[in-house]
Symmetry: C2
Subunit: 495 residues, 2 copies
């Protein structure tokens, strides 16, 4: 049966008009104000010809204006193709053409990138301020949303091949938000600090929770550890979404007991976190909910429940209430004995598929089960441990090596700031692990010291066969390590 619900922002503005919806750079906006602003933007978007069924690409940063644009598109029933603003012009053009978005809306900050593609791209290209100054037309705000309709499209970073546009329905966002609330609870005066990009599912899902829960989003233009801590302490933040590099930076300057009681937790996503970091957070009473999710599951899919935070440290917990996880071997058989294999997920927050990619959709979907391409296992109590991306797996003399495990050891060294592991071809073993390491500016540690450090903590075949010190590691906007890029670096060095 069709699931029809009222327009989220409009309904929210009716239910709790005076609650604060968004805080940004010292200003507060109630749900009523946000609805009215977004409705004005919707009229301007209608003025440039957008309507239900259209699709519009947006190239934006974390800003209250971006929130209004995203909400306006949603209320009009326009599919928002939400672009990653760190992409190159070439990458942007590829996604614009792939999605066939009718309009590209962009912020002035990205003018340079847009200028390069303006002539090639065949559709309307419009700067935000031009939109806001332009003509309005009578907007057809959708009274109801059909949960099966697509509302956003986000391209996956894709460790191999071209990125694919992930279709996200209203239902995907709805189920993601409610599943999260059933796990984390929902208290009066909830305030979620959003310092992750809103063009990424980690940030966009906070906006959707805001509408569905009636919760305040405190939006930061970009992540700065000191500002984030200051915000949490002085503005009664209850939750914050982080990836491990963000948490690491905050942890570095946070003191024991500094987190206020009102702060309920860090929702940690974006890949496995080093155990040493999680232990450190525990020691400092920084509550961390390790989670597992992706663009294709509209954010969190599994989260470690509060009562298991200590006992199962390092696990991403269990699949949220409406969700299911299973592990399969290479032959597609379900593994129920705790063995490692590919992680498959099923639930109403899983994407219906990829835009215009029937083949890829069919390849990754099997009777409702989505093949994540990630490697992990379920322990005897059913807790998920994510080992790595399958495409990042290093196979050395028949042994599986998970880069994240070695990175975790390197990161536990006091002189190491960041670390990345990729496979390097080897005549005897097929592949061996190679390390890229960012060390502290004042550190005097040598490659040899680090090798010895690893040797004491890892099986011999897992010890990196080469260690390279670098200034910085390639990470995407969600701070995810780009191992594909590291492999390129390695190739260039070796040839």
């Amino acid at each position: 049966m069709k699931q029809i619900v009222p327009n989220w922002l409009k309904k929210r503005a009716e239910l709790t008009p005076n609650r604060i919806a968004v805080m940004f750079e010292g200003n507060e906006y109630t749900f009523k104000q946000v609805f009215e602003s977004a409705a004005r933007v919707a009229a301007q978007l209608t003025g440039i010809g957008l309507k239900k069924g259209s699709s519009a690409a947006v190239l934006i940063s974390n800003h209250v204006d971006s929130v209004m644009i995203l909400y306006a598109l949603q209320m009009l029933g326009v599919r928002a193709v939400i672009l990653n603003n760190r992409l190159t012009s070439k990458e942007l053009l590829w996604q614009l053409e792939d999605s066939n978005a009718e309009v590209l809306l962009y912020e002035n900050a990205f003018m340079e990138k847009v200028t390069k593609i303006k002539n090639t791209y065949q559709h309307v290209v419009l700067e935000k301020e031009e939109l806001f100054k332009g003509n309005s037309a009578n907007a057809d705000l959708q009274e109801e949303y059909d949960l099966d309709d697509v509302t956003t499209i986000m391209y996956t970073s894709g460790t191999t091949g071209n990125p694919k546009g992930v279709l996200q329905t209203f239902g995907n966002h709805w189920w993601s938000a409610t599943a999260s609330a059933l796990n984390l609870g929902l208290t009066d005066g909830e305030r979620w600090l959003c310092a992750v990009p809103i063009f990424h599912i980690s940030g966009y899902s906070i906006l959707m929770r805001s509408l569905i829960y009636g919760m305040t989003v405190i939006l930061h233009h970009s992540f700065k550890e000191r500002e984030a801590i200051e915000e949490i302490i002085s503005n009664r933040v209850t939750m914050m979404s982080v990836v491990s590099t963000m948490l690491m930076k905050m942890n570095d300057i946070l003191e024991v007991g500094q987190m206020p009681e009102t702060f309920r937790g860090m929702l940690l996503g974006g890949g496995p976190a080093p155990l040493s970091l999680l232990e450190d957070c525990k020691r400092k009473s920084i509550p961390v909910y390790q989670s597992y999710g992706m663009t294709e599951t509209a954010s969190q899919f599994a989260t470690l429940a509060p009562e298991y935070g200590i006992e199962k440290l390092g696990s991403a917990g269990k699949a949220l209430f409406p969700n299911q996880i299973k592990i399969i071997d290479e032959g597609g058989n379900e593994l129920t004995n705790g063995s490692e294999g590919e992680i498959l997920v099923k639930g109403p927050n899983v994407t219906p598929g990829y835009l215009n990619r029937e083949q890829e959709t069919n390849n990754t979907m099997n009777n409702g089960w989505f093949h994540t391409g990630d490697i992990g296992y379920l322990d005897k109590d059913g807790f998920l441990y994510v080992l790595d991306r399958r495409s990042d797996l290093i196979i050395s003399g028949g042994e599986n090596i998970y880069p994240a495990e070695i990175e975790s050891v390197l990161l536990s060294h006091e002189d190491v700031v960041d670390a990345g592991i990729v496979g390097m071809e080897h005549p005897n073993w097929g592949q061996v692990p190679a390390a890229f390491v960012v060390k502290k500016k004042v550190a005097t540690i040598s490659e040899n010291d680090l090798e010895n450090y690893c040797r004491e903590r890892l099986a011999k075949y897992k010890v990196p066969k080469s260690i390279r010190f670098v200034e910085e590691l390639p990470r995407n906007a969600a701070k995810k390590l780009l191992r594909k890029e590291l492999r390129e670096w390695l190739k260039r060095e070796l040839t």
Copy 2:
């Protein structure tokens, strides 16, 4: 798109095995224990031939065994026809035959009623203890639930005509539970006191919330005001479902400041409550969430949000987040000016229809909008005020008279314990209001006194033209006033 979710009780037992699921008569049962017990009962139910697609009627009271039976039926995919245990044998037989339930499971306490129908009813009739002692078979516990599948059938009391079996899907219960959480919040250690019948949607919906939220149900065999208050005070109850007569009895003996801080609120349903009661609760700091809902909406549909408890006293609030309400006139036109009319509701918690009653289903459903038959209006801020059942409306000389309004005035008199108003035929006015009143045992008030009391507070045409003192008023298991019964009383007296 189909919405598929994992088996609720099984999933809940996996997620939070050690949380307390049910407290009953001094015993505690964790989710793991409840799952194991329900799985055993499922095996016994399989032993008597029940399987996915079957339907089984249950005649039970509030007891932990009943919870196990209901959960077992749900896990097997058997439709539970949940009978009202206050019905007469004749009424029960009618529902059994209408639903064509394959089995009637009953508790020993209802032996007498069952004995009377045993010979007429053509299917298996089995006492609870016999079931529990019987043979088990390999139970096919459903791994997944399709939200479109029907899991329960409850007959509506039906103020006119024969009762109809309301189909309730997994989705109806799911959306009801999540919509409620989005409004009331969801805190750690939630404990809901259930002293309303679990055969009624008010009680059954607490069980569903328990599974979906991972929340403790404190189950009382029946409502006793002193025991309820004692439970709230000593056992950290956070929420309790009540109808106004229950709340009145508790209010009568509760002192100011007696409710502990941990108690979040009374969810008040089952029809309009007298304003005087709500004001009294406010004075005693008993938090009350007035709500509007019915069997056809799988419990609450609208609830007064915390922030409006005072300003909109007497309102049932706004439709919950996924829900919509509109008011129509006799001609079916939407009324947007605050006028009174029939209340129509739409949302994913609304029943797909009545069992085997295509005609009635079509009559009450219109493009997703369900005609409640209730009369009410939306004020200028969109708050719902429920006036009365349309079938209870008294039309007197062209004026609409809502029984609930007059009852509310009568109940505000200190000597009145209960009051019911129905229409009485009248040669000049068509109808006039007639009152049935239960007065305090020690009270010396006369019919005349009460008439004068009403005259000071109501328009002349609303003042009851006859007042009868009675011992008790007819109320159903949900404590709803049975005005149909009162009309019978009146008819008998007048002929």
